[in-house]
């Protein structure tokens, strides 16, 4: 289940439920494989959501966060002070922003996390965010190919098949790395005499820009769905009123995939209002209770 995203939705919205710092009750699933998410939608809104996830994870959940991005973040994409009035600057120090311009650089950096993490488990991240997978995979700003035997490094001239293989390589490497980082956290817990159940597995949340119309036929997104058990789809609501704010935009947020929790239908769809100042406000879409089967009603009568 996308537990960290769920915590973000609840924290920044009408529910505004703030967990105690380091509260582990939000982690409903203790498996890396079931908790990683690909966020599909427009680039700006996806980046803002990832940024919100980074701040919430660092400030509220006391997690170390590694944030990969293709282009430097010049200013906060989301004003967080309104909903997180108690945000301390020190909390943001738990977020490490890493700018990688090309796919080759990103692959090598993710692949080398084991060099940094081993022996210094306290510094190993528990949340890895990758902003704009498409920027890397579609070769925007990429200097060229390379590493053909490893299946990586397809530049802008790469074929669709190669792009799918490269996507699979990057996604598999992210998952394999998060599994390794989780193991590092578990070994540290063992050495400190802590229970393994208290260990928070490392999660991966990555954003991928895709038009809504193109999503169903996008083979790259299909490959990402294979590795990321949960997809968070952001769809702009064209006819929205923005909750009375004429400059606001409204979005619908859908969680889907094998990683979503069964029996949680009311937490799978959310409204998102992005106000004129960029502030994001989430509210759950509550589904009406399904009417009883008329035949059963007749029997009772």
């Amino acid at each position: 289940m996308a537990d960290i995203l769920e915590a973000v939705f609840k924290r920044h919205g009408c529910l505004n439920s703030q967990p105690q710092t380091g509260d582990q009750s939000v982690f409903c699933n203790r498996s890396t494989e079931c908790s990683s998410v690909v966020v599909a939608g427009e680039r700006g809104i996806s980046r803002a959501l990832l940024f919100l996830a980074a701040v919430t994870a660092a400030a509220d959940l006391d997690l170390k966060v590694l944030f990969y991005t293709h282009t430097a973040i010049q200013k906060f994409p989301v004003p967080v002070n309104e909903t997180m009035t108690d945000l301390k600057p020190d909390s943001l120090k738990k977020i490490k922003f890493v700018y990688r311009r090309s796919l080759e650089e990103l692959l090598l950096d993710v692949a080398s996390q084991h060099e940094l993490a081993s022996g210094a488990a306290a510094s190993a991240p528990s949340l890895v965010l990758v902003d704009g997978l498409d920027s890397y995979l579609h070769g925007i700003g990429v200097g060229g190919g390379g590493g053909s035997g490893g299946g990586s490094g397809v530049g802008s001239g790469g074929s669709r098949k190669d792009e799918m293989s490269t996507t699979a390589h990057l996604a598999a490497l992210l998952m394999d790395t998060s599994s390794f980082l989780t193991r590092i956290h578990e070994e540290m817990a063992d050495s400190r005499g802590m229970e393994r159940g208290a260990v928070i597995p490392c999660r991966v949340i990555a954003s991928y820009h895709s038009d809504v119309e193109a999503m169903t036929a996008d083979p790259v997104l299909g490959v990402l769905d294979r590795y990321f058990p949960t997809r968070c789809t952001l769809v702009k609501d064209a006819g929205s009123s923005g909750g009375g704010d004429e400059f606001a935009h409204e979005w619908q947020v859908y969680l889907s995939g094998t990683g979503v929790r069964h029996g949680a239908a009311n937490e799978l769809e959310w409204y998102l209002v992005v106000h004129a100042n960029g502030a994001m406000e989430f509210s759950p879409i509550t589904k009406p209770v399904a009417p009883r089967n008329p035949d059963q009603q007749m029997e009772r009568v």
Partner: protein, 140 residues
Amino acid sequence: MSSVLPFVAEQLLKDIEKSYKEASQLPDDLLIALQCIFGSCALQALDLLDHRSVTCVSSPSGRRVFRVLGGSGQLYTCFTSCHYCPCPAFSMAVLKRNSGLLCKHILAAYLCQAMGQSQQEQVSDQDMSRILAGQAASDS
């Protein structure tokens, strides 16, 4: 679609591990089950095992990965925690057509794990990073 093995395949690999530990060989019924689940990949993977083509590479950090020498002489780095192999068959049959669970290289790595038959190689952490990133000298 999934990047992990279905339960039936996982159980079969456990049975193979148990059986191989006890008798140092695979009985016919498990070989037939392998063929049923993985199709033509099964025989090709066993052939890779016979040729000792699978190497488990590890580094001081504790990171491990499998490298499989294909029939063409190409070395493939395979992830087993979540399926990935850079070979053309994986791209076509698994990623594009979705007609197979995995390729012969990943299956060979799984079988090696189950039967404890892989070659072992120790590399530095830096070399491991390059292998994982598909940027090792032997990849080109």
